[in-house]
């Protein structure tokens, strides 16, 4: 396919797809100055390299991309090349308008066929992932090609097909990213990474699907492995961390019990109180009275 750009608001092809802000292919035969400056947008950008070698800055960090690699740029992250130089080669891209929640998680819109917990899990993976490089992932190129063909072909069912392909794109990226960051040889290491992610965002209403997705496992295998490794189901292990953190906070006088409950991921102070008492025999307020620092 030759090079092209379609843009939301300018190109009729995208009228049915308000969530696709831009899509295109660029084939660059000679080095060009000021053709690829660093920009910041509020959308999710995915670039797939077909030919050549590109040195791009993502969040001011230089990365090198080779054919088969893709770059994933999160909303609000500066992306472009140093001094705006565009190197020789070709690539395709798509910009997606994806809602970003207050806590930094990404949520696709109503067009998506992903369930709420699936999209929460994918959003989590995308936003927690450290590296913008998805290496050797020809599936992404294939999906982008398919979207292009559908956009220009307008065959029956193309609207559903394209939305479906965009979902597939997010799924493939999510799966590839967890596989990239988790060796299937080292469960303890993956578990520690999960632990750290849970602690970083204890207030989040974690589901087992999200947790499993973060370590790149299906929920059945995940449940089984966590149980045999930790002695607890994933949710009970999470409760362990929640109560342990709550105990630390209860020992500091300046935070209210309600705030502690919400900060550590309980629905309400009532839910916190019941869970806490069931395990420790104390209501949080009683526990606090007995343990307050420097009483």
């Amino acid at each position: 396919m030759n090079q092209f750009v379609l843009q939301h608001g300018k190109s009729a092809e995208l009228l049915l797809f308000p969530h696709i802000l831009e899509v295109g292919i660029r084939k660059n035969g000679a080095i060009q100055l000021n053709a690829f400056p660093a920009t910041v947008t509020q959308c999710l950008r995915i670039y797939y390299i077909m030919d050549g070698r590109f040195e791009w800055l993502v969040d001011q960090q230089p990365y090198i991309f080779y054919p088969g690699d893709a770059a994933l740029i999160l909303p609000g992250t500066p992306f472009g090349s140093d001094n705006g130089v565009l190197e020789i080669g070709s690539f395709s891209w798509i910009h997606l308008n994806i809602q970003q929640l207050d806590n930094g998680h990404l949520q696709p819109g109503a067009w998506s066929g992903l369930s709420e917990s699936e999209s929460a899990a994918l959003g989590k993976i995308l936003s927690l992932n450290g590296s913008p490089v998805i290496s050797k992932c020809p599936e992404i190129g294939k999906i982008l090609r398919c979207i292009h063909t559908e956009l220009f072909g307008n065959e029956v069912g193309y609207q559903a097909s394209i939305n479906h392909q965009v979902d597939e794109l997010l799924i493939q990226i999510g799966r590839k990213m967890t596989r990239q960051s988790h060796s299937a040889r080292d469960f303890p290491k993956s578990f520690m990474k999960l632990e750290a992610a849970l602690r970083q965002d204890l207030a989040h209403q974690w589901t087992v699907e999200e947790m499993a997705a973060l370590v790149g496992m299906g929920t059945t295998l995940f449940n089984e492995r966590v149980k045999s490794y930790s002695g607890f189901s994933p949710i009970n292990y999470l409760i362990n961390i929640r109560i342990s953190e709550a105990i630390k906070l209860l020992k500091r006088p300046e935070i209210t019990v309600t705030d502690i409950a919400l900060d550590t991921g309980f629905y309400s102070s009532q839910h916190f109180s019941t869970t806490f008492k069931k395990l420790t025999g104390y209501r949080p307020s009683e526990f606090r009275k007995n343990h307050l620092r420097n009483k």
């Binding site: 040889r185 492995r225 607890f232 362990n240 961390i241 420097n294 009483k295």
Partner: protein
Amino acid sequence: MKCIITIELGTNGVRVFAFDLNGRVIGSMKGYFPTFHTEPDHSEQDPEQIFITTLYVLKNLLNEHIHPKKHEVACICFSASMHSVLAVDKSGNPLGNAITWADNRAKKDAQELRTTAFGKKIYAATGTPIHPMSPLLKITWMKNRDKERFRMASKFLSIKSYIIHQLTGELLMDYSIASATGLMNIHTLDWEADALKYAGITTARLPELAPVFTTAGKLKKAYLQSLRLPPETKILIGSSDGCLATLGDGVKGEGKATITIEDSGAVRVMGPSVLKDEQMRFFNYLLTENCYVSGGPTNNGGNIFEWFSRQFGDFTNAFDIETSMQQLMEEASKVPLGSDGLLFLPYLLGERAPIWNAHARGAYFGLNIKHERKHFIRATIEGILYEIYSIGKILAEQRAIKSLSVNGSFGTIPFCTQIIADMFNKPVKLRPQLHSVSFGAYLLSATEMGIYKSLDAAAQTVELPGVYKPRKQNHAVYADYFNIFEKLSVKLFDEFEAIGSLQQKYSVK
């Protein structure tokens, strides 16, 4: 029916067992808690998570195995890993995380103290080798480099002391745990003034010392209610994992030694006198008055084989390291013993006994063009076990060893147990279930309850049904290779240090 519950606060989590009064296991459960490495040499655990996990697992065990059958809990007995330090403020609340045995932050102080006459004096008095694992050095490190925490610390506890303090309000440290702090005089059974002075503390900043049979107060009302236990439930302070594993294998009396190989390992003997050693290679910990558990620890046990499996094993199922390790063991069993002359130094994590060299590193030696992948597998296993043998060998210079027992997840793999028997040229016994530490805690509890007259009598009842017999011709082969292994382990002293510092210099963060 009455039962005894044992709680083992280990490196990776807590294990709770329920025994009937005859020592049969009624049920067991475990719960994991993590170790945090916020800096390269740091190794910490969250005391609140340990407490909550312990409570949770205990509660689940009671609800599943004890209460439905109307068993009556006569006693709850504790065991714990050694060498942990937790600073608490004057309200008894933790100042940061607990520092575990594996923490190396005090390595510089340890290196300095180890070579001095004062260091040797402290070692002789306290029985704890001068090493960064020792709470003596961790507290000293805090005094010099974490001054705020040191100043705020009202007391320095062990993890077990903290857990018991939460449950009953008592502030105690048992002889076994205390004797592994480098702060307790194992001959006078009191805190050692010289050591305390070195660490910059007084006895007021340590818990009260208590024999292992001490009742550590009563469970607080809230826990009696949440655990549904009667107020008369006895809380026994108990001992350390090392001492209890030795007791649990019945290693009391002449000529017996026990080998533990979990992630790390140790070879231990038990007796009425300490092992003296100019080179400070042995520990001497207290089980009870006049009963010392002595031996040498290694950093490199099953964790090294796990490392190998992770790198070179086949993983047909994701995350299934057990199958991968099993397949490697099978492959290794097809290689002639001695691995056709391929030797492995297992010092991937530096080493404690017998060479006590934190800079030591791993090496394969003797490679020739005929060696295949499978030789590496067997050499790795043999290397880990030669290292165990080298500890046993220096122990045997002071104590005659006639029979051996093995415990721990790696040591009890049949392939490994047979190699141990062959290397030592001694019969090796083992327990089919893997719970020597908890069984030791059961024996301690049962003795306290009067079921056995003494720990000696309790230890004598221990029967280890599995026996592996040594094969003479195999021993001869291992002995030949061991000569070279032993020489290599000290020959590379300068190069170990040199490569270690280059590894640090060029390490990319």
